[in-house]
């Protein structure tokens, strides 16, 4: 098969055996690759009765037909399993250099089951798997683990996706980290690794990616390349990356401040992306074959690291009431090296701060820790306790949603989560399509299932053409948002299946179903049309829902925290607005029934 590696690697870590099977062209045709293919595999292979942190869970690494080609910004890979945090479908994607290297091993998917009796890592090459026992790597951070594995094999081209201490301790929201700082953060994929006693997956490939029609493919690549370089946001994105959202969201009054109690941050200029770029940032970093190279490398107080992305920056500044930028940079590095989802951690912290302020949780409830807004020292302590599962950290490592069940209904309601997944840093009261996306997303509160960034772009005419109403481009309107989300879900799946970056593929709107059909056709020789792809991805969205239904998810779970439905923001450009979710949901379900 052109484009694809054409093989699936199945690994059983209990018996330390592996099998290589051909990728069935008919099987892959209706999912293309990446996330959609992973979900299909999970739905087929997983016994839904099995414990997410038991040997029965199926951990899948997946890339797509265009991963590792010249297509810009297509360096992602997706990791899928049943989530230990939410108990439902879990997956998380990351960029960097792991995905393309995995592609060169000739495996489109690595499917891992079982549980090793002691800590091991897998070295995956074209020939299959070497199981390497690694007791000496226990407790080591991600960067040290990566270096140790490269050193052990004398090969610096090896790419490593590893867990840190949090994954080893099975913190439910533990992350998997590759290229040192590229994080599969959400849904606890690091905890699944830890539960299998897998410290890392190392990949090293040497197979070329063969294309059906290289010249035609190159033609499509040039168009995407041009669209990126000519994009009006190119300079801004390349300078700031996602941290541009600090100012952008504050400007429209939806920057989570003091745990979503406010949408305006008075000290945003101290913690903005611009501030980071003009102080501690020393250079740009890029994923494989991306011209936006939006990632920031920084030096601060003796720490060198990459990032933080917007979610971590906001999560450890305004969301927890802190104006301390160096502290956020420190937390970014700490969390990446411990291997923990920054959103899950900042939700625990923000929730504790609000609950202690309101007297719903006392310091005695949490080992005597008094935590108030912007109290960096206590946050630092909490993070250490959680990663090591020490003291109250052991209970907090279960996640904000589970931990809150020890307390009153009032305290539980303050957890900003949907389906057990902590909400991202964007207040849905001022971005209604995002509100709908959080409510319906199949991995729980999440924007990336649709990323309806379109509603922030004020493209009224395009809105009328695509969604039948200008209101689709009005962030405060509910009208047209179900149509926008239904459309964006498909484009999000398209980018995820091609393992493209959503910032580029979706937010910068450089690829659509037509251009994707041409690119996939030139690369693989499989003829798709835009309509065909839309049908396939529509089916794939349904496949997510069917799988979640098997996990017990119902429509009643498609909701938002009460704050967003009933408490309007008091100040700023989003003042007075709440999410009219039932209206959007009704329309959304109607569109999905069609």
């Amino acid at each position: 098969m052109y484009g694809y590696g054409g093989r699936v690697l199945r690994v059983d870590v209990t018996s330390r055996r592996f099998e290589i099977e051909p990728l069935d062209p008919r099987w892959i045709k209706d999912v293309v690759g990446g996330r959609a293919a992973n979900t299909k595999r999970l739905a087929e292979d997983l016994d839904t009765a099995s414990d997410p942190m038991g040997p029965g869970n199926v951990l899948i690494f997946g890339v797509g037909p265009l991963t590792g080609t010249l297509l810009p910004a297509s360096a992602y890979y997706t990791v899928t399993a049943r989530s230990p945090l939410t108990g439902i479908l879990g997956d998380s994607a990351a960029g960097g250099h792991f995905g393309p290297e995995m592609k060169l091993t000739g495996f489109d998917q690595i499917v891992i089951t079982g549980c090793a009796d002691a800590l091991v890592y897998l070295l995956v090459t074209e020939d299959g798997v070497t199981f390497v026992p690694c007791p000496e790597l226990a407790g080591r951070n991600v960067i040290d683990t990566t270096a140790a594995i490269r050193e052990a094999h004398g090969d610096w081209d090896i790419q490593v996706a590893a867990i840190g201490i949090a994954g080893e301790n099975r913190v439910r929201f533990a992350a998997l980290v590759s290229s040192g700082n590229r994080v599969n953060g959400r849904a606890g994929m690091g905890a699944v690794m830890g539960s299998k006693n897998l410290k890392a997956i190392a990949v090293r490939g040497g197979r070329p990616v063969r294309l059906h029609d290289p010249l035609q493919f190159l033609d499509g690549v040039r168009k995407v390349h041009r669209a990126i370089l000519d994009h009006p946001e190119y300079e801004k994105r390349r300078r700031l990356g996602t941290t541009m959202l600090m100012r952008d969201l504050n400007r429209i009054g939806i920057l989570p401040t003091r745990h979503f109690q406010e949408g305006l941050c008075p000290y945003v200029e101290d913690v903005s992306g611009e501030q980071l770029a003009s102080t501690y940032k020393v250079k740009n970093k890029s994923c494989y074959n991306c011209h936006v190279h939006c990632s920031r490398y920084y030096v601060c107080d003796g720490i060198e690291a990459e990032g933080p992305e917007f979610e971590t920056l906001c999560g450890f500044t305004s969301r927890i009431g802190s104006r301390n930028l160096p502290f956020a940079l420190e937390m970014n590095r700490t969390l990446n090296q411990y291997g923990m989802d920054s959103l899950a951690v900042c939700e625990i912290v923000g929730w504790l701060m609000e609950c202690q302020e309101k007297g719903l949780v006392t310091p005695e409830d949490v080992d005597g820790l008094r935590v108030s807004w912007g109290d960096c020292e206590t946050v630092r302590r909490l993070v250490d306790l959680i990663a090591h599962r020490q003291g109250i950290g052991d209970a907090l490592a279960e996640g904000a949603t589970r931990f809150s069940r020890r307390f009153s209904a009032a305290a539980q309601k303050l957890v900003m989560q949907v389906k057990g997944m902590d909400i991202i840093c964007g207040d849905p009261r001022g971005i209604k399509a995002y509100g709908l996306t959080y409510a319906v997303a199949s991995r729980g509160a999440d924007h990336l299932r649709a990323e309806p960034y379109f509603e922030l772009t004020e493209r009224w005419e395009v809105a009328r053409q695509r969604f039948g109403t200008e209101k689709a481009a009005d962030r405060l309107a509910e009208e047209g948002k179900a149509a926008l989300v239904t459309y964006s879900e498909k484009i999000a799946l398209l980018t995820d299946s091609l393992t493209m970056c959503k910032n580029v593929g979706l937010c910068m709107d450089v690829i659509n179903l037509d251009s994707a059909a041409a690119l996939i056709g030139a690369a693989t020789g499989v003829r798709y049309t835009a309509d065909r792809l839309a049908v396939h991805f529509g089916d794939a969205v349904k496949r997510d829902l069917e799988l979640n239904r098997r996990f017990g998810v119902t429509k009643a779970d498609d909701t938002l925290p009460e704050r967003f439905l009933h408490e309007p923001l008091a100040e700023g450009p989003t003042r007075g607005s709440v999410v009219d979710l039932p209206r959007m949901l009704g329309e959304y379900y109607r569109l999905h029934a069609e």
């Binding site: 090969d155 610096w156 020393v282 011209h291 190279h293």
Partner: protein, 125 residues
């Protein structure tokens, strides 16, 4: 990391005489003479030459107009014509033969990066 057109030219001591220097100072590989023995790969201290599909593969400056230079949107790659032979790699030679090319590249890049890093720290302190 590409060939630095170093002063020492360890690689051209090819047992098959397959490597010669071109007019720009670039290394030119003869596809007929190259037997893929790997002597050049072992001798290069910074891992800039490796066999690929039966022939030694090394930067040949694209005939004097390296395509990678305009391709880099960060301006990180520059080409100084006439600068061949100005980079000395003798300091990286001892012990390098044991290492894989990717390892040698990592060592070289880290060494170059150290000065830059020290500059960052000074600027922040």
């Amino acid at each position: 990391m590409v060939c630095q057109q170093c002063a020492e030219r360890y690689c051209v001591a090819c047992p098959e005489n397959a490597l010669v220097l071109g007019p720009l100072g670039q290394v030119v590989v003869s596809p007929t003479l190259c037997s893929e023995c790997g002597a050049c790969t072992r001798s290069c201290p910074i891992g800039a030459i490796e066999p690929v599909d039966g022939i030694a593969y090394v930067c040949d400056l694209c005939g004097g107009d390296p395509r990678c230079v305009p391709a880099c949107t960060q301006g990180a790659i520059s080409f100084a014509s006439g600068a061949a032979g100005t980079v000395e790699l003798a300091a990286f030679k001892p012990g390098s033969e044991r290492l894989a090319p990717s390892h040698k590249r990592a060592v070289y890049v880290h060494a170059l990066g150290r000065a830059v890093r020290d500059g960052w720290q000074v600027a922040r302190d």
